[in-house]
């Protein structure tokens, strides 16, 4: 496993675009954190985002894992191009001739997906820890380390999403087209959602229970939006007498669905590669 990771890391480390995208991926959250933690003077109002409770333990686990997961698009480009570049440079062929098996090739890519996801999860953990320790109203040990399942969900979410990117990279063989396909797929899921909602189930909950089985929706479902959980939003909602309560928890079946998709994508990549003549 280390050998395969080492090989893949060697391929990535000399690529300028990979380096830049990865740097952006890890630096952007730092900026967001920095912006959130300073005072804004907004048309005479002093807004201090950190005071709104977003950095409170354990809420911060939920909030950060949700927000930062949007940046996964940057790494998605890296993942897609690391697959499709092997086709366009024809290095995949050379790798196989040099004595890598097709299985090893896919595994080296999948291990890289795991490594990126793990690194990102550790990063979110550290960033949240620092922000939380600086701004949280509660710093008791038991509170800090509660709701850590959001980090696990974050990890699974990235692995699932990147496996999808990896599969598309192999399937389409061109990075630009693969990313385009990803976007088109996202639109397709949205359209299917609308169709299911208004033509088949006629209820939101019914549509959600169908949509949770689609790959992008499944990864999105792992971490629900945290905004309506905020104190000031909830109190505002109470004043308006609206019920905005959502089920925020990470459910085992959501995790299972994403894991099944991950397996399908990795196995599918392998099957595609095995079937193809290069």
């Amino acid at each position: 496993m280390l050998r395969l990771l080492n090989i893949e890391f060697h391929k990535l480390r000399y690529s300028k675009s990979t380096k830049i995208l990865t740097l952006i991926y890890f630096i952007l959250p730092l900026f967001i954190a920095l912006l959130a933690s300073i005072d804004f003077n907004f048309i005479g109002f002093n807004i201090h985002v950190a005071d709104q409770g977003i950095f409170n333990f354990p809420y911060i686990w939920h909030f950060n894992s949700f927000i930062i997961s949007y940046l996964k698009l940057f790494l998605a480009i890296v993942i897609v191009s690391m697959m499709s570049n092997e086709y366009s440079n024809r290095t995949l062929k050379q790798n196989l001739i040099d004595g890598m098996s097709k299985k090893e090739f896919i595994l080296s890519k999948f291990y890289t997906v795991l490594a990126f996801s793990a690194a990102s999860t550790v990063f979110v953990f550290l960033l949240s820890m620092i922000l939380g320790l600086s701004f949280s109203d509660y710093t008791e040990f038991s509170i800090i380390f509660s709701e850590l399942e959001f980090l696990l969900a974050y990890f699974i979410k990235l692995v699932g999403f990147f496996s999808f990117c990896m599969f598309l990279g192999i399937l389409v063989k061109r990075s630009a087209f693969a990313l385009g396909f990803l976007f088109v797929w996202w639109i397709i899921e949205k359209i299917v959602h609308v169709v299911v909602r208004f033509k088949i189930t006629h209820t939101d909950s019914g549509a959600d229970s169908v949509m949770q089985f689609f790959p992008l929706e499944a990864t999105y479902n792992l971490i629900k939006q945290p905004v309506t959980r905020l104190n000031f939003i909830q109190s505002a909602a109470n004043q308006l007498q609206t019920d905005i309560s959502t089920d925020y928890a990470v459910h085992w079946y959501s995790v299972l669905i994403v894991l099944v998709w991950t397996t399908i994508f990795v196995w599918g990549s392998y099957a595609l590669l095995k079937k193809r003549d290069l």
């Binding site: 050998r3 090989i7 060697h10 000399y14 690529s15 050379q94 004595g99 098996s101 290069l278």
Partner: protein, 321 residues
Amino acid sequence: MLNFVTKPQLGRHIYKTNTILNTILQINRLTKRYGALTAVDNLSFTIEKGNVYGILGPNGSGKSTTLGMVLNVVNKTSGDFQWFNGNETTHDALKKVGAIIERPNFYPYMTAMQNLNLVCKIKNVKNAKIEEKLEIVGLLDRKNSKFSTFSLGMKQRLAIASALLNDPEILILDEPTNGLDPQGIHQIREIIRKIAAMGTTILLASHLLDEVEKVCSHVIIIRKGVMLYSGSVDEMNASHGYVEMQAKDDQVLLAALKNHPWFEKVSIDEETGLTKAMLTQPIEAEELNAMLFEKGIVLSHLVKRKESLEQQFLELTKQNA
């Protein structure tokens, strides 16, 4: 040889003859179909250690497909092949093989060194030999240049260096001089000759006959996926040659030659107007001249030639058209 035999593997049949221990690659009725098209048709041959093999065939005859199949990048339709007597999986066996097929494929954003380091990691060998191999192909001074800045000739030479990194049991080259300028072709051939002289088994696929003739000891000729000939280059050249003649009356000459046991395939070449006849036995030009003179035929032109491999090749492929 004996150290091979003294280490029998458990549960594995031990072959009794030495030749099998020297077999590098054995191909048995290998076939590849793309839909209705049969690219490689029931091909069988064996590569023994220490020889230089040439696979000869016109473009599109199935050379690259054959190599692709044994190199794990093209899926076979039927038949099978074995590397090193089938003692290991194909991808492990390929770690002991050096191969370049069609075009040099490397990561354009990496330097020569970085690319070769990667190949070492894939092949699971130490990277101590990189400089030595770059020296062989004359690229040592460009080792820190990016691959994308290389000319085609340099890319091809880097590919050879890369194939040599593991001191391979066999070096497979597919059209190594394709697309190169004369100087590049010369450099590549020099390198191949150097490597062959070191005793490395080489399998060279080419549509260039003189290339194969110059470098190879054995030749396999394929056309439309079918093997036409397999054997040594010398045996292929074993004909007694042919003669070109001209006399005042071509028809008389033709008749005299046709009824004589020394000759076969007598014909008048339309382009040159010369009468051409294949020799069935080693006959000297003097004997031939004397024989015809006795019959009252005076030759105005007599040349005895040995067929080049190229003519042999054209002959072979024509017969089976």
